[in-house]
């Protein structure tokens, strides 16, 4: 972003009356100007009510500790009552899945899905993932500009998902497509402009997966996710909408987030050459650098809850029925908890202390998988001494939820 745009955003964030601040405007995420607004809220009104938000009235929780308090209080703050994103959907249309369920149903289903992405199972996948990373890196063009998002970030996460689902490899880009559709809110002028269109595409996704499900249910239980869902007592009687909901959850969970951490990591290293040098000098820092990349990117900018009883957060009274948005992206820059929070520092004292995976009963089940993918990628980049230079500003996604990039133009010189 140009200095001029930064200055203007800073000026505007200070000038607007506090009660008129609406951090949910997707445009501010697209042009990367949301930061000064969060900075002001953290300072002046950390638990902030916005009456006329683009997506209706809502509370913004902007500081680390207040976010932790909401995230761990699932009795007062429900994931089920209104879903987990700021945009409301007509309840009848939603695809239910356990990220948007409260206990006890949440716990049951989470327990079923969790073992496949637990470290013990991941160890079996590491070799396969590494060989795919190597193939991708070795086939990248040299001495010419290309889009890192498409050639590396998307390709790698898509291959990973195809592996997890044992999904037909040649059709794997469908996974990316469905993930994009599932996280798209219909907007006039976009390819998907109505909820009906979105639901029709997701119905195709359901049909495809139903076919795979039927194949697997008639076979002995395998270690892929679909087989696990088809055979586990906790999930095998799921209704089609619920089945699709959980699949979408795993596709989106394992797709956009990791993809954008892969892109973000490359961008941050290019912006902070001293940190990249530190990493090259000491590859033992890779796990710590991976956590820092995930903190600094915050691939999911927020999670939403709905108050199901009155509660006090940061001294403010939140009433039953209120929409509460935990801005992880802001809490991860809270200087009260994270020293030099606005800097990208790969060897922090507590690199794992960040909000990007959430906390409490909904804390990301895929976190170890995501970290493993990023670790392997950086190990292989360093091993090859790949010199990847960013050749332009990243293009960001207009979303207040998926915090990421649609393109990052790069060039490999050696």
């Amino acid at each position: 972003m140009s200095t001029l745009a930064v200055n203007r955003a800073q000026y505007e964030a200070q000038a607007v009356p506090l009660d008129r601040i609406d951090v949910s405007d997707p445009k501010r995420f697209q042009d990367d100007t949301v930061w000064p607004y969060f900075e002001r809220l953290r300072k002046e009104d950390p638990v902030h009510f916005c009456r006329d938000g683009m997506f209706g009235p809502y509370w913004s929780i902007t500081k680390y500790r207040d976010i932790m308090a909401v995230d761990t209080n699932h009795k007062a703050f429900s994931s089920e009552a209104g879903g987990i994103i700021i945009v409301d959907r007509n309840v009848g249309e939603r695809f239910p899945n356990f990220i948007a369920m409260d206990p006890p149903k949440h716990d049951e289903q989470r327990k079923t899905v969790s073992p496949i992405v637990a470290p013990a199972n991941l160890a079996n996948l590491e070799g396969l993932i590494r060989s795919r990373v190597c193939t991708i890196l070795d086939s990248l063009p040299r001495q010419e500009s290309f889009n890192w998002v498409d050639k590396v970030s998307i390709e790698l996460t898509t291959q990973m998902l195809a592996t997890l689902f044992d999904f037909p490899f040649e059709d794997r880009r469908l996974l990316t497509y469905w993930s994009d559709v599932a996280t798209t809110f219909p907007q006039a002028g976009q390819p998907i402009d109505t909820w009906e269109k979105r639901d029709a595409i997701l119905a195709e996704c359901l049909a495809y997966f139903t076919r795979l499900w039927n194949e697997r249910i008639n076979k002995a239980p395998g270690s892929d996710l679909i087989s696990m869902l088809a055979h586990s007592p906790a999930t095998r009687n799921m209704q089609p909408r619920e089945f699709l909901g959980n699949l979408i959850l795993l596709i989106v969970g394992g797709n956009d987030t990791t993809r954008n951490s892969i892109t973000g990591g490359l961008w941050f290293m290019n912006q902070n050459p001293d940190q990249l040098q530190k990493l090259r000098n000491n590859p033992a820092l890779i796990p710590s650098a991976v956590s820092e990349i995930i903190r600094y990117q915050t691939p999911l900018a927020h999670m939403r809850r709905t108050a199901v009883q009155d509660a006090i957060v940061g001294g403010k009274r939140i009433r039953e029925g209120d929409k509460v948005v935990m801005w992880y992206i802001s809490g991860n820059r809270d200087e009260e908890v994270i020293e030099n929070a606005n800097s990208f520092i790969i060897d922090r004292k507590n690199p794992r202390q960040h909000l990007s995976f959430g906390f409490g009963i909904h804390r990301c089940v895929g976190n170890r998988l995501a970290e493993m993918q990023l670790r392997i990628l950086w190990e292989e980049i360093l091993r090859r001494e790949l010199d990847v230079k960013v050749t332009g500003e990243p293009v960001r996604v207009p979303s207040n939820f998926v915090h990421g990039y649609s393109s990052l133009s790069v060039r490999i010189s050696a």
Partner: protein, 106 residues
């Protein structure tokens, strides 16, 4: 000062001495005992400080708290004697406590 024996998954043992009041998670993290992550800093919000308390010590370490029990409930490697180490505070009565670490934290 009370002492804790940590038994790593591979069998390696660490004897750590900490001031009374320190949590078992903090004791491990501060002394670089591998196998305990403590991502949430002891808020009982991440379950990456999962340990197995040796049966002889179960009574002295007390009951799981409600939020602790919820998190352990869906940890696939949880057993009867599973606890979250950040929820156990050391005192003289726990001097000599023995805990085993799981293969990995998730």
């Amino acid at each position: 000062m009370p002492k804790i024996h940590f038994l790593e998954f591979g069998g390696r043992e660490h004897l750590i001495e900490v001031p009374a009041g320190t949590s078992v998670m903090q004791a491990a993290v501060d002394n670089n005992v591998p196998g305990i992550d403590g991502d949430c800093g002891g808020e009982c919000a991440c379950a990456t400080c999962h340990v197995y308390v040796e049966p002889a010590w179960l009574e002295k370490t007390g009951e799981r708290t409600v939020p602790e029990d919820e998190l352990l409930n869906f940890a696939s490697t949880a057993q009867e004697n599973s606890r979250l180490a950040c929820q156990i505070r050391m005192d003289d009565a726990l001097d000599g406590l023995r805990v085993r670490l799981p293969e990995s934290q998730h």
